[in-house]
Amino acid sequence: MSQVAHKEYEQLRISGLHAFYGESHILHGIEMEVQRGELVTLLGRNGAGRSTTLKAIMNMVGRRTGSIMINGEETMSCAPHHIARLGVGYCPEHRGIFSGLNVMENLTLPPVVRSGGMGLEEIFAMFPNLYERRTSQGTKLSGGEQQMLAMARILRTGANMLLLDEITEGLAPVIVEKLGEVLIRLKEKGLTIILVEQNFHFAAPLADRHYVMEHGQIVEEISAGDLASKQSVLDRYLGV
Amino acid sequence: MTTATTQTDIHQGIVRQQKAEQRKKQILNLVLLVLLLLAPTVMYPVFLMKILCFALFAVAFNLLLGYTGLLSFGHAAFLAAGSYTTGYLLSNFSGLTTEMGIIVGTATATLLGLGFGIVAIRRQGIYFAMITLALAQLVYFVFVQAPFTGGEDGLHGVPRGHLFGLVDLSNNFAMYYFVLAVFLGGYLLVQRIVGSPFGQVLKAIKQNEPRAISLGYNVDRYKLLAFVISASLAGLAGSVKTVVFQLASLNDAHWHMSGEVILMTLLGGTGTLLGPVIGATFVVNLEYQLSQGPLGDWVDPILGAIFVVTVMTFRSGIVGEIQNFLRKNMS
């Protein structure tokens, strides 16, 4: 666990981030910091702007202002493919499985950006469904299988910062459990993970910190330790 | 209690808004009508008639593209079917009154539309466009080969004849008001269709076809009916055009014509009632103006440049962009 020593290294710093889709102003000055090896979640209600935050990090929104530093490097003027090359892996909200490609091609599609990604065997061991269906057209998979595929292909690339958007959506509870274990393992390997989740029961035990978003702003930051004491605040924001 | 009152309030609000919109529409229609009635006193009536014929054609086409989401690439076939049928009848049966010729021409196009529709309607998207194109090419081939169409030369000297056996249409003014009446009939029909229960279903199909199916609509039938109505109006435009110009030619059946009506509609604005009319006016005018002037041999590149500019800068078409502008600056 050599990475533990570097844990204080700052992986991501966002300050004063605003994002727009055409005319609509979606993010209003996001401030956040993530250290290397940390797992943080973005919580909030539907439409709070969590997915948009991830997309803004990837430079996939219409327009953005402010500052996003990845590994100490300013990325506001970077094209998305440069950002990915910095070691950022993004698993999008609606899976983004390619129908023109079969499962295997989908899986091996994202270029490896760093060494140390998972091997195919490891991935197939985790998601046996994918192995079984490896020659099917990507979008012929069931909803849950597509979700697995979307997650799996990111793990292959060796990215060391993962942006994961609703990865448990539509997955059977056993798989969700398994995913939880995977995330813990990744964290142990020193990967930085930003998790957008509706399933708070899934996220809570994994995360080091939680950011709560509302109306395009971060309204609360809760560390894992404070979770119990701040439960009522959280309930208010999330309507649990 | 409270919910009940807000419910009716909102409902009434909606109805009020509908009424207001309707009034706006009526005022617009009235202004247009007056302009159209006066137009031949300042402009050359035959030219105006040409515009009206193409406008009707484009309006018919837009019923499909703009309101049903079907891109037909074979509408020239219907224009030509109306055009040749009417031309042939009026040239060869001197007893026939003009309106009979037009009615039969329109009916022919309607039948052809039914045939096309039955074959094409089950195909989606680009395949639909291509199958209509293919069918139209076959119709073109028939028109080239058939003895009654005059091949390349077309049908010439079709008599304008007498409307109801009474009104002499060789007078350009009489002809104009007849064409205007036909155009308005077609235009108002489409306006009515779009707002009708049927129009609502078309709109639904356009936006989300699987959902419409799951709501119990037999979408193929709806699309087919829309297609047939559109073909029929296109045929009407062709029939009237033949009477106006006393000529039916292969031009009407060529795929360029199918392309042209797409351009007119897009240029004016799809999915708006007035758009195709404006688009047709613009294109017909432009072609005429360009072919006249010193730029005679530059018509194609200039038309091309206009398409490029349209697509690059005002994609919603002239009317669409104006609507967007108003929406943005009114609210």
Binding site: - | V46, L247, D252, S291, G296, D297
Partner: protein, 381 residues
């Protein structure tokens, strides 16, 4: 009594499509040259020119023509290439009693079943094309014929005329094949022609179709294997495009050639200065017919269609285009035609030095005699 004190001439032709090069923008130049040479005014009245692209469509042409005569007081329309355009426009001219002078069209039906008292067909038509070339080729021993026809009215007319001439001269048409218009690949048809074993392979088509067919015939060694290629309608611009290398030896009939005599050379030098190319027979015809028209207006002091047409019919045409040309009552301008052969590269001394004139075909031998005419204007008399 010149209307509006202006003689207004419309030039209507294909400016951008298939027939652009044989008339097109340069035809307008020829017309303007004529007006300038005439002095720009006739009996004190202005001469004005308007022009438009007919886009090869009877539709576009007739709406332009209609507007010109009904709304803009155009007195005469010249140019007119595609036969369908000419027929459509002449109908409108007849209805409004204006005059049309057709220089580019080939169909002989224009002064036959489609004749009107309101137009003149000036330069050539399918009848002499067939007559000149076909009879010459049969006489040289081409007995059996394979005709490759463009599948539209013009091609059919030409095919009909050729068949008649071949049979009259003792030859035999053993096969005719109609190809779609336009066609870009002729290999299949050339192969059929080779398989037919005919002595002569005749091309009853025009423009790019003809040049494509000739190129392909060349490639497949049609002439090497002993068959003769006869192109029935070939313009100077087409031969120029093919080049002497490919086109050498082809016989064709033309109404005029720029390098016939000093007069033609002088005019075509001026034309070349204006346009950069040598004139086709259509260009020369447009110049000549515009001159003739203006002369007639001057002589009669009127721009009334019938008056002018009558005057033109009464005046024989003697200029660089034609000698003793006569406009008949059916509107046909009858003048001498020429049987030409494309020079070999060795003979050709420049890129436009392409024809040698083999024979002059006297006008009344070349054109359809009035006795065979189906024109109402003739039969009524």
């Amino acid at each position: 009594e010149i209307s509006n004190n202006t003689v207004k001439i419309g030039y209507l032709a294909d400016m951008s499509g298939t027939y652009r090069d044989l008339a097109g923008p340069n035809g307008l130049k020829a017309m303007e040259m004529a007006i300038a040479d005439f002095g720009g005014k006739v009996n004190g009245a202005k001469i004005e020119v308007v022009s438009a692209d007919d886009r090869n469509s009877p539709d576009a042409a007739s709406s332009t023509a209609r507007r010109w005569v009904e709304n803009e007081d155009v007195d005469m329309i010249g140019g007119l290439v595609a036969s369908s355009v000419s027929i459509a426009v002449s109908n409108i001219l007849e209805e409004n009693d204006r005059l049309g002078i057709i220089s580019g069209s080939a169909a002989s039906s224009i002064t036959n079943e489609h004749c009107t008292p309101n137009h003149i067909h000036y330069v050539y038509d399918t009848y002499p094309l067939a007559n000149g070339t076909a009879s010459a080729v049969v006489k040289e021993g081409g007995e059996t014929w394979f005709i490759l026809t463009a599948d539209y009215a013009f091609g059919h007319a030409l095919e009909g005329d050729v068949t008649r001439v071949v049979e009259e001269n003792g030859g035999k048409v053993i096969e005719t094949v109609r190809h779609p218009f336009p066609t870009s690949d002729f290999s299949s048809f050339i192969l059929q022609a080779q398989a037919s074993g005919a002595d002569v392979v005749a091309l009853a088509n025009a423009g790019a179709d003809t040049t494509n067919a000739i190129t392909t015939a060349n490639e497949f060694g049609l002439t090497q294997s002993g068959q003769t290629l006869a192109a029935l309608l070939l313009f100077l611009t087409d031969v120029h495009a093919l080049g002497a290398e490919t086109a050498q030896g082809i016989q064709l009939t033309t109404g005029w050639y720029w390098d016939m005599n000093d007069e033609t050379r002088a005019w075509s030098d001026r034309f070349m200065e204006e346009t950069g190319v040598r004139p086709t027979m259509v260009h020369a015809g447009i110049y000549s017919s515009t001159m003739q028209y203006l002369d007639a207006v001057k002589a009669t002091g009127s721009d009334d269609a019938q008056t002018v047409r009558k005057q033109m019919m009464e005046t024989p045409i003697n200029d660089m285009f034609a000698k003793n040309g006569i406009i008949r009552e059916d509107g046909r301008m009858v003048h001498d035609m020429y049987l030409a052969e494309v020079k070999t590269p060795a003979e050709s001394k420049g890129e436009w030095d392409l024809y040698k004139i083999i024979r002059t075909i006297p006008g009344d031998e070349a054109y359809r005699p009035l006795s065979e005419s189906k024109c109402d204007l003739v039969t009524q008399n």
